[in-house]
Symmetry: C2
Subunit: 334 residues, 2 copies
DNA sequence: CCTTAGCACTCATTTCACAATAGTGCTAAT
DNA sequence: ATTAGCACTATTGTGAAATGAGTGCTAAGG
């Protein structure tokens, strides 16, 4: 248990450190707490004992520990409204009806990244409860087709289909007809199994060279589900943060950003804005990831901000909340 | 004019520096040239006079200047075949018939980036001489449609269309019919002007609320031309090069990579593999960009390798040539 | 029991001097 | 044209000394 003045002290230290990026010494807090540096030092010692503060070396000022930030985020931070200035910059984007939702999201994150000097990430995918609305097949030549899948929410994806052997036009259109008849309304995730168990037996009866056709369509239609994309904005911005002041730090964080399995590391399943400090996230111990899931008709995804642990938490959390709500509002009236 | 031994010397110095990344001293070259370090020094002085060599400080060994690299690439480098090892790694990718061309390109560049520790870039766009093959329009609700454009080479793009006011289904399908009748076979670049001058007058006669419909389709169909995409692979790899050994160097090059107008900086219009050393390229004075344009039915683009000026020129040039020819070969038989 | 003044102590940072090293340019001799 | 010899010069590394910010602890006072 820590006392009430100690809470104030912890808050003050965290906020000061967020501003200055320098260890906070006892003397600098005297005026604010109207007491001597020795008193502050005593409280600091308790807070260190409790695990909320750390020293960089034996005679340095104090720096928040991971637990310190966590305590600050959970208990001390006062939920401010998003600042008028920040809001203004984001607003213009969402007021622009011309902009498509995806572009609006990208643009917003660009702005957030620029004004905060953190890195932002958007991960999008088509919602798994999308339903298939139509399959179009367009022949390019005797061995190549294009399959186009449209979902009920207006998402379109196309895929080239290569046939091992030539197949007649009638057989293709026959297959397409069957596919449409049987697949319309099917959730996109269920398409592969439906193809295998319901469609395959039927095609077999109608189509001569059914294996060739079936295989081609199977590979074309079953890859739609896992379509995700990670987009980073402002990788260079986070490097402006003073924590990245050695070559190795910089190289390390850039490599982490390039990592292949970023999707799984970023993806968030919680609707709230969540904060993952240091070792709580999978990217890197030296950063904090603030993220949330958004969901609008037909699409869902994660938006995230990556910054140093010494991050402007209220500001970032507020901006993400604001952004999430605007994405979802804009999504609805599109 | 520089003499024959001096050419050999320049070649030797460039190659040694490429290997070691350290200024090359006169003593280290005695055995190779069977003469004393003083002789080498004399020749070095001439080469420096001629602008091909530089010193990092008054008493350091020599380093190639930009002109030195240029001379090396143009006159001294002996065009080797691509090494068996390098080739093997790339071959397996192009032998895999499953892989789509775009994926094959990405994968190859990933490999090149990994084995060389340089950064690679692919910039793709649909070829400007593509022709429109079909326009599909699919209604989502009374105010939203999806327009799908397919080109003769099998490229598909879709765009959401928002109508300002509700328009009847018949009017939409009527418009679609007109569009298809008049636009099939039109080069994709010519679509906007054809819309304005040929189609608009016709729609006016058939469609009641023609302005709403026309505007929606115009904005949907005229944005297809400029669809390009830059994809970097291995941004972190180039940082392994010893030239990036200060925080500022690293931050600087990463910022350059993030720059918005990368498309124009990377895009190459020459079919040959071209080398842009230092200030010859638009990215950054400290790097060399080796790039070439590739062109296959329906698509064209640029592949590029970015490395330090101290780059393994023959190797990179060979790999790019190899890659380009394989891309174009694979493109043909798809 | 909480607060505070005082003091000894620690560690990071900066500065300076000094030696070692690797290279050059120049001159004079071959 | 080549080379041996020598003076000269930056860079790199090392170690010692000075500075400064900040702590922990003790003892005294509310």
């Amino acid at each position: 248990m820590i006392g009430s003045r100690q809470k104030d002290l912890l808050r003050e230290i965290v906020e000061e450190y967020i501003k200055s990026a320098r260890p906070v010494g006892s003397k600098s807090l005297c005026k604010k707490f109207k007491c001597s540096s020795a008193t502050i030092r005593n409280d600091m010692a308790s807070l260190e004992e409790a695990g909320y503060l750390e020293k960089t070396h034996i005679s340095s000022g104090r720096v928040p520990s991971e637990e310190g930030y966590r305590y600050y985020v959970d208990n001390l931070m006062e939920p401010k409204k998003i600042s008028g200035e920040d809001m203004l910059k984001l607003q213009t984007i969402f007021n622009n009806r011309e902009l498509e939702l995806n572009d609006a999201i990208s643009k917003s994150l660009e702005i957030i990244s620029d004004i905060t000097n953190y890195t932002s990430v958007v991960l999008g995918k088509s919602s798994s409860d999308n339903k298939l609305q139509k399959v179009e097949v367009i022949p390019i030549n005797s061995k190549q087709l294009i399959a186009i899948v449209i979902t009920d929410t207006g998402h379109v994806e196309s895929k080239n289909v290569y046939l091992e052997e030539s197949v007649s036009t009638e057989e293709i259109s026959k297959t397409t007809e069957i596919l449409n008849k049987m697949l319309i309304g099917t959730p996109i995730d269920d398409v592969p199994s439906k193809l295998e168990f319901d469609i395959k037996p039927i095609i077999r009866n109608y189509i001569q060279n059914y294996e060739v056709v079936y295989n081609a369509f199977y590979s074309a239609l079953s890859n739609f589900t896992s379509n995700r994309d990670v987009k980073f904005t402002g990788k260079a911005n986070i490097l402006k943060q003073p924590e990245f002041n050695t070559v190795d730090d910089v190289k390390n964080i850039i490599s982490k950003f390039e990592s292949k399995d970023m999707v799984s590391k970023i993806e968030e399943s919680d609707d709230e804005v969540k904060v993952y400090i240091g070792s709580e996230n999978e990217i890197d111990d030296s950063v904090t990831v603030v993220k949330t899931k958004y969901k609008v008709d037909g699409r869902e995804g994660t938006i995230a901000i990556i910054g140093p642990k010494r991050m402007e938490y209220e500001r970032v959390i507020n901006m993400l909340e604001y952004l999430k709500s605007h994405i979802e509002a804009k999504g609805k009236d599109e």
